[in-house]
């Protein structure tokens, strides 16, 4: 289109430069600080310009801390979270959109409601459940009086116990209990041509075949986008892994990173090492973003295909 958009393009360029500086600024400072020595920080506070100590600091992270192991945990948690979220969300969105069930609306509302309450404000009670996932069952048995009956017959009441704390499953599961994925998949399914569904039915495809042969391949980009987003949020989770993992070799890298900050007021944190840690810990997610960036935009475009 012929347009005299110089003013707009200049403005856009300016906006983007400001945006990029805004984004890169803190990252630069992180890197700059990470490349200074502890003594430098003691003397000057954080650094505005880079030094030459980055590899020393990074080496320190690898040799002196649990962060390398914890990055494996982060990988497991982020991957598990992303994978489970994608798969389970896909399945539930599938059920909600493609099946004639009266409860679809209710279930969708129940799932959607989870978007509104972050785990941070229900962490105490969530921890309780995680420490014994059967506690609701036990409570139910108690309340309904069933346990009384059982105790009468068998001598002891039922007390099921299964703690998922300090397990990878326990780190992942509460993160998966979230509705964003279902929401996104539902929106995406609604934009697929409906005749595709009918065509598959005419071809004799049942629900399972339709899911695997048609829906899954077509959802690839959405799947990828959601996967990346969930992976990243799983990787950067702080409070839940902090609470749910008790041993340092079960903790995630972000928690391990926060541990480098001393609690005692007398100590000045070793910021160069912490920042080097932050850099090390962010490498995997940043690499992921750089590689999969275009799927993000594609996968989230909710247009008629």
């Amino acid at each position: 289109m012929i347009e005299n958009a110089r003013s707009l393009n200049t403005a856009a360029g300016f906006v983007l430069i400001v945006g990029i500086v805004y984004i890169l600024g803190p990252l630069y400072l992180t890197l700059a600080t990470a490349s200074q020595s502890y003594e430098f920080i003691l003397r000057n506070g954080l650094a505005w310009y880079p030094g030459d100590q980055f590899f020393t600091n990074a080496a320190h992270i690898f040799t002196e801390t649990h962060i390398p192991v914890q990055m494996l945990n982060s990988l497991v948690v982020a991957f598990g979270d992303a994978f489970a979220t994608c798969v389970l969300s896909l399945l539930s969105a599938y059920a909600i959109v493609y099946f004639r069930v009266r409860w679809a609306g209710v279930v969708f509302a129940l799932i959607l409601a989870t978007i509104m309450l972050p785990i941070e404000i229900r962490v105490i009670t969530t921890y309780q459940v995680a420490s014994n996932v059967f506690s609701p069952v036990n409570a139910l048995l108690d309340i309904t009086g069933l346990n009384g009956l059982i105790a009468d017959y068998f001598g002891v009441p039922v007390k099921l116990e299964w703690s998922v704390l300090n397990t990878h499953f326990g780190l992942i599961a509460p993160l998966v209990a979230h509705g964003t994925g279902t929401f996104l998949f539902r929106q995406f399914f609604l934009t697929l041509p409906k005749d595709l569904f009918k065509a598959a039915r005419m071809d004799g495809a049942g629900p399972i075949r339709f899911l695997f042969d048609i829906l899954l391949p077509l959802s690839r980009t959405s799947f990828a986008a959601l996967f990346v987003l969930t992976f990243l949020s799983g990787w950067t989770q702080y409070l839940w892994p902090l609470v749910a993992a008790s041993t340092s070799d079960m903790q995630t890298a972000v928690v391990g990173l926060a541990r480098l900050v001393p609690d005692a007021e007398g100590e000045i944190p070793d910021f160069p090492m912490i920042m080097a840690g932050a850099v090390v810990v962010s490498i995997i997610p940043l690499a992921m973003i750089a590689l999969l960036q275009r799927y993000l935009v594609q996968g989230l475009a909710l247009t008629e295909k």
Binding site: G19, P26, I121, F271
Partner: protein
């Protein structure tokens, strides 16, 4: 989508499909939420034993507590300003990155990076950036002493939090909004150009109205996201201070429950917050959501 009766009609399969997610959600969302509601009617001893039913007493206490209201107002102010900015700024960036200029491609990549950096680790950096003596505003401070003092002045601390929150909120909203902009049919822009609207005008008359669904989505998610992300940032940057000026409700709930062992009070506040957020989101869906669902 398709008319009802052509959908799959299975009795147990859809149940089976939603079961795993619903089970997780029931277990790790609804049970804890229910538990919180339950506790809000009791005076609960931290280590259990001797919990006492007190009816609405906790609610009465919380609602009579000026700190609660202050935190509540602060939360609303934060939600509104932070989420507005965290949508508005990515919106402006997305509009810019949607244009065919050389910077657009690198920007599309770089602007997503913060998503990979944990809020907790970036908090430290933001605290440094906004340090009144050595941070970027230091020159301002030496010209007008104490004009910028986030450690003393609550408003300044608030601004620091918002800047950090927006930083972390850019990627997701940027990606969603950019995707929305890119799915606007080209002819729509051309039609407006033929109608005499220049590129600036088209932003307001065509692009913005047409990405309302995406704007709505980001706004809804951002409202809750601002609550979540604020937590990590407050925890690392301000600790709720100075003088409680950045104690949002989430942080207050956390500290009341975590360091104050006030399970009942924390649960009561959680319950109230939940009701508030649910009502708010429902209202958003009702008032905003209805008006912007036009067919193309």
């Amino acid at each position: 989508m398709t008319s009802e009766s052509s959908l799959f009609s299975h009795r147990w399969l859809p149940l089976l499909l939603v079961a795993p997610l619903m089970l997780l959600i029931a277990l790790f969302f609804y049970v804890p939420v229910f538990q919180a509601f339950y506790w809000s009617f009791f005076l609960e001893r931290p280590f259990g034993g001797g919990s006492m039913f007190v009816g609405w007493d906790n609610f009465a206490r919380v609602l009579a507590d000026p700190e609660f209201w202050e935190a509540g107002w602060r939360t609303i102010i934060f939600m509104v300003t932070a989420s507005t900015l965290a949508v508005l700024i990515p919106l402006i960036l997305a509009l810019a990155a949607d244009r065919k200029i050389r910077l657009a491609l690198p920007a599309r990549n770089v602007l997503i990076w913060p998503k990979g950096v944990a809020g907790a680790s970036i908090g430290v950096v933001f605290a440094f950036i906004f340090n009144p003596f050595v941070g970027i505003l230091a020159p301002l401070n030496s010209a007008f002493p104490s004009i910028w003092a986030p450690g003393i002045d609550g408003t300044d601390a608030f601004i620091t939090l918002i800047a950090a929150h927006v930083w972390g909120g850019i990627p997701f909203n940027f990606v969603i909004l950019l995707a929305g902009l890119q799915s606007i049919p080209k002819t729509m822009q051309q039609a407006a150009a033929m109608d005499g609207a220049g590129p600036w005008r088209r932003i307001f008359d065509v692009q913005l109205p047409l990405i309302m669904p995406q704007l709505f989505l980001t706004l809804v998610l951002e409202f809750t996201e601002s609550v979540t992300s604020a937590f990590a940032l407050i925890d690392t940057i301000t600790d709720g201070g100075p003088g409680g000026a950045t104690t949002l409700l989430v942080y207050k709930i956390y500290t009341d429950g975590f360091s104050g062992y006030d399970l009942s009070g924390a649960s009561t506040q959680t319950a109230i917050l939940m009701v508030f957020v649910v009502l708010l989101t429902a209202a958003q869906f009702l008032f905003l959501g209805r008006r912007i669902n036009y067919e193309r």
